[in-house]
Structures are given as structure tokens and as C-alpha cells.
């Protein structure tokens, strides 16, 4: 287990470094930088030169990169060029908001999607299955930001209420936090619940065709036991992989939903740092996204090994 973990971590580290090089090159491949943004059209060449020196932009790209990497290695992400705050603190706050959004979405999507999928799988081919499958298809086909917009319209016409625009942390006021997060979480969760339900249905249907289920039913094991003891345990393994995939998808979807509902999460931070060409924030933010995605994948693999002895032994 230790050796496996070390190997996986080393591979992830290499990919993360390569990804940061890609980001670094991409960011510097286009005309226009933070200095141009700060000084605007009437840029004074002397001031521009001084500012570029101040930000280190006069150095060759590889030296800038190595400088950045050596700081990152000591957990120093520098200072935001546009806001003057430490990058680490800005990212920390934003990640908190995004994680709240992602975990709440994951919880609701799991609670709704898994039972729906199980029911659809058990009643395969019957009316109930068809109704659930229609929900799945519509949920997967609808754009997530459109669901958000329509929820906003629906709620404001039906309840004459719209969510507050200023974000409040759950530690400050849980009630207000929930009223802000409700619609964003719902719009993301609808899509993911559909994806879950679709996946679980497929797993249940194929498990029912397996010999161990048929044997259990044939020898008279009650359906409830067949389901909870035999079937669910075998579905759990692919389900955990799927959960990881969903979590990474939610992180992506968060960018859109955060911008729609004005949540100060990681997605919105990335968007604004792209706009202002705030390289330290952009690079650190993207690195954090990549690392989170890798960690999720790693945790999924580890769960796999814990649950399934066949994987552990091989």
C-alpha cells in the first residue's frame, strides 16, 4: 500500500508540474499583461518598464517560472497583482466557498440520484423506470446555467423571493448562508442526480443479470437481503469511482454557477484573475484545481483498494 501510494503521488506531482508549465506558457503567450491593464492606453514607457521590473516580467519566461516554482515549493504563492493581498489567503477563502457548494451538491445529488437509479433498475422496463429515465435524459440534456436561471425565475414568481446577492459564510449565519446557496446547489444537483440515477440504474440492471444474484434469488433469499447484502456491495465499487468523477464535474460546473449567482468561489476568482491578467492568482488557482482533481482521483483509487480485496491483492 505504501509503495503504491508513493508511486501514485510521484506521478501526480509530475503531472501537476507539467500542468503548471502549460498554464505558465499559455498565460505568457498572449499580448497584453497586468502592466498594460494598469496603465491603460496612455502608457508612459518609463513607468511601464519600472512596473515590469517590479513584477519580474522583464525576465525570461523560464526564470520567472523557476522563481515561481521555488516559492510555491515553500507554500508561498506571492501577492495578488491586482488586489495586493496574499494569494494564499484569497484562494483559501474561495476554495472554502466552492467546497461548500460542491459537497452540498454531491450530498443532495447522491441522496436523490442513487435511490432513483435503484428504483429504475428494479422496475426495469416498466412505467416507473420510464418516468425516471425521462427525468435522467432531461436532466443530462439541460444546460446547468439555464436550470439556474429558470429556478431563479420560478422561485421569484412563485414565492416572490430572490436570493440575497452578498455571500455570507455558514459560520456567520447558517440560515442566510443556506438561502444564498440553495439555488446554486439545486441547479448543480439536478444535473448530477440525473447522471447518478442513470449510472446506478445501469449497474443494478446488469447486476440482476449476474449469476450470484440469480443463485441467491433461486435459493430463496428474501429480496431485501439479496438487494442490501449482495447487490449493493457490488455496486458500491463502481459507484465510488463515479462519485469522484461527479465531484470533479461539480468543480467545473461551479465556475458557471458561481458567476451566475455571484458566489465568491474559486471559479469566479479564476475568471476575474484572467480578466485582470493577475498571473499569481491565476497560476495558483489553476494549480489548486488540478491538485484537488488529482486528490479526488487518488482517494477514489484508495477506496477501491479498501473495499475490493481483488484490487488489493493484484
Amino acid at each position: 500500500m505504501g509503495a503504491y501510494l508513493a508511486k501514485r503521488l510521484a506521478a501526480s506531482l509530475v503531472t501537476a508540474i507539467l500542468a503548471s508549465i502549460v498554464v505558465f506558457l499559455l498565460v505568457r503567450s498572449v499580448p497584453g499583461d497586468v502592466v498594460g491593464q494598469m496603465l491603460g492606453q496612455s502608457s508612459d514607457p518609463v513607468a511601464a518598464k519600472a512596473l515590469r521590473e517590479f513584477f519580474g516580467l522583464d525576465q525570461p519566461a523560464w526564470r520567472q517560472y523557476l522563481g515561481w516554482l521555488s516559492h510555491v515549493a515553500t507554500a508561498d504563492f506571492g501577492t495578488s497583482w491586482s488586489r495586493g493581498q496574499p494569494v494564499l489567503g484569497m484562494i483559501g477563502t474561495a476554495v472554502g466557498v466552492t467546497l461548500e457548494l460542491a459537497l452540498a451538491t454531491l450530498a443532495i445529488a447522491t441522496l436523490v440520484g442513487v435511490p432513483l437509479g435503484v428504483v429504475a433498475g428494479i422496475y426495469e422496463g416498466r412505467l416507473l423506470d420510464r418516468v425516471i429515465q425521462t427525468f435522467n435524459l432531461l436532466g443530462l440534456a439541460a444546460p446547468v446555467f439555464w436550470i439556474g436561471l429558470m429556478l431563479l425565475v420560478g422561485v421569484s414568481t412563485a414565492l416572490e423571493w430572490s436570493p440575497p446577492l452578498m455571500y455570507v459564510a455558514p459560520t456567520e449565519s447558517l440560515g442566510e448562508n443556506i438561502s444564498i446557496m440553495a439555488l446554486p446547489v439545486l441547479s448543480l444537483a439536478l444535473l448530477q442526480a440525473a447522471a447518478y440515477s442513470q449510472f446506478v440504474r445501469q449497474s443494478v440492471v446488469s447486476a440482476f443479470g449476474q449469476d450470484y444474484v440469480r443463485t441467491a434469488i433461486a435459493k430463496g433469499v428474501p429480496m431485501r437481503t439479496v438487494f442490501f447484502k449482495h447487490l449493493l456491495r457490488n455496486i458500491a465499487i463502481p459507484l465510488i469511482t463515479f462519485m469522484g468523477l461527479i465531484l470533479i464535474q461539480i468543480l467545473g460546473g461551479a465556475v458557471i454557477i458561481e458567476s451566475l449567482f455571484a458566489l465568491p468561489g474559486l471559479g469566479r476568482l479564476l475568471l476575474s484573475s484572467i480578466e485582470t491578467r493577475d498571473y499569481p492568482v491565476l497560476q495558483a488557482g489553476l494549480l489548486v484545481v488540478v491538485v484537488i482533481a488529482m486528490l479526488v482521483n487518488l482517494i477514489v483509487d484508495l477506496c477501491y483498494r479498501v473495499i475490493d480485496p481483488r484490487v488489493r491483492l493484484s
Partner: protein
């Protein structure tokens, strides 16, 4: 041909289609919707007589009516006309990106899987790096940094899906490389590139084509999401995501500005999903 023979030939064909449609109603429904979408793309004039670009501030934000079935937007343009004319723009961007990704990813994947060794390792690593970004974030990064232009949007969508095609083509080519016909082709002295591009490609191609259909709705989702964030096609060009972006600020005053383009995305994605799934089922059965 006599009248009676035409009459007897038609019901035969029609009943054949009908019986197939009964067997796979999802696929049939999806195909009908796809045909409808293709008609909208090819002949927008059939569906609307209005211009998608003509501004008429006096008629701004009118609710749906007989004259404007989808209402008008904040500068008085007909929303139906914008959605109908937007179909061609939106879907041609998605299709170009898919074709480019299939060509690049498919070719690299086949070479990688067939040749193996160091090339395979290098390309695999590169694809891992691209895959380490969640798709939408990669799209935001590329279009955001390079600038919101249609060409950059196509490039971003292509970059997102190259690794997906790479993996499929790679595993397809690897499976084929061990088969007897490849060995036989080698034994009669055919060159490796010839075997790869003439023999192996023929067997990997169906996998890639089905994947195109399966991925199309996902590409559409990301394309419109980037448009919605203002990183895609720029106004006043009617693109579905861009129309939604313009409707965002007046969503509570004029919800129809957003409802209908979103519905267009939903219906198109649904149609493509149904057809993609039907095709995939057929492939699996084979």
C-alpha cells in the same frame, strides 16, 4: 412503373420503418429531432421570416405573441429569429471542434497504440496533463487567456476533447495490433504505416464515429457555457450561449429571452444523446 406497384412498395417500406421505430422508440424519436435540428440549420428561412440582427428599441422586451412567438430581446430583436439563426453558428462551432479533435486525437491515439514504446509514453503523459483540468476550467482558461474569439473557442473545445479521442483510438489500435490480420499483413511485407492507416484505421474508425455522436451533446453544453460566460461568440452574432448571456441581466423582466435559447440547447442535446445511445447499443450488440 404502374401506380399499383408504387402503392404496394410504399407501405412495405413504411411498415418496415414503423416496426423498427417501435423496437427502438428512443432512437426513432432522437432521429426525428435531429432531422428537425438539421432543417433549422440548413433552412432557417423556413422557420422565421424575421432578421436576427434588426434592432427596434420601440419593441424591446415584448412578451411572446403571435408576431414574436419567442418574444423580443432588450433591443427589440426577435428572439425566435435569433434562436433559429443561432443554430447554425452554435452547432457548426461544436461540429468543427469535434471533427478537429477526432482527427488529431484519433490519429495520435492510433499511432500511440500501434507503435507503443517511448512515443506512447510521451503522448500519454501529454494527454494526462490536459485531462488533469476539469473540461470547463480548461475551456475558460484557453478562451479567457487567448481572448473571446470564435477561432479560440473552437481551439479550446478541440483541446478539451483531443485526449478523449486519443484514449479511444489508442485502446482500439492496441487491441487490433495483436490480431492475426495485422500479423498476416506484416508477413507479406506491408509497411507499418500502410498497415496502420489502411487496415487498422478501418476497424478503429467506427469507434471514433460513435464517440463523435456521444460527445456532441457534451461539446454543446461546454460551448454554450463558455458563451454564457461571455468567452465565446461575441454579440451581436446570435449564438445560443451568447443569447443566454445577454438575457441574464434582465432574467426577471424578460425570462423568455433566456428560456427559449436554453430550450433549444436542451432539445438538441436530448436528440443527440438519444441517437448517440442508440448507435452505441448497436455497436455493443455487434
Amino acid at each position: 412503373m404502374s401506380v399499383s406497384s408504387v402503392a404496394s412498395a410504399n407501405p412495405g417500406r413504411l411498415s418496415l420503418i414503423a416496426s423498427r421505430a417501435r423496437r427502438e422508440p428512443d432512437l426513432a424519436f432522437g432521429l426525428v429531432l435531429v432531422v428537425l435540428v438539421i432543417l433549422v440549420v440548413l433552412f432557417p428561412g423556413l422557420f422565421t421570416g424575421q432578421s436576427p440582427l434588426t434592432v427596434n428599441v420601440a419593441k424591446a422586451m415584448q412578451a411572446p405573441s403571435l408576431l414574436h412567438p419567442f418574444g423580443t430581446d432588450d433591443v427589440g430583436r426577435d428572439v425566435l429569429a435569433r434562436v433559429v439563426h443561432g443554430a447554425r453558428i452554435t452547432l457548426s462551432i461544436c461540429a468543427s471542434a469535434l471533427i478537429a479533435a477526432a482527427l488529431i486525437g484519433g490519429t495520435l491515439g492510433m499511432v500511440s497504440g500501434f507503435v507503443g514504446g517511448r512515443i506512447d509514453m510521451l503522448l500519454g503523459r501529454l494527454m494526462d496533463v490536459i485531462l488533469s483540468f476539469p473540461p470547463i476550467i480548461l475551456g475558460v482558461m484557453v478562451t479567457g487567456i487567448l481572448g473571446p474569439k470564435t477561432l479560440n473557442l473552437v481551439f479550446a473545445l478541440t483541446a478539451i476533447y483531443v485526449p478523449v479521442f486519443f484514449r479511444i483510438a489508442r485502446s482500439g489500435a492496441m487491441a487490433e495490433a495483436g490480431l492475426t490480420y495485422v500479423e498476416a499483413a506484416r508477413s507479406i511485407g506491408l509497411s507499418e504505416p500502410w498497415i496502420l492507416f489502411n487496415h487498422v484505421t478501418r476497424n478503429v474508425l467506427p469507434l471514433i464515429l460513435v464517440q463523435c455522436m456521444v460527445l456532441f451533446p457534451l461539446v454543446l453544453q461546454i460551448q454554450s457555457a463558455l458563451g454564457f460566460l461571455g468567452l465565446g461568440v461575441q454579440p451581436p452574432t446570435p449564438d445560443w450561449g451568447a443569447i443566454l448571456q445577454q438575457g441574464k441581466d434582465t432574467i426577471l423582466l424578460a425570462p423568455w429571452m433566456s428560456a427559449f435559447p436554453g430550450l433549444a440547447i436542451l432539445i438538441t442535446a436530448l436528440a443527440l444523446m438519444l441517437v448517440g445511445r442508440g448507435l452505441q447499443r448497436r455497436m455493443d450488440r455487434r
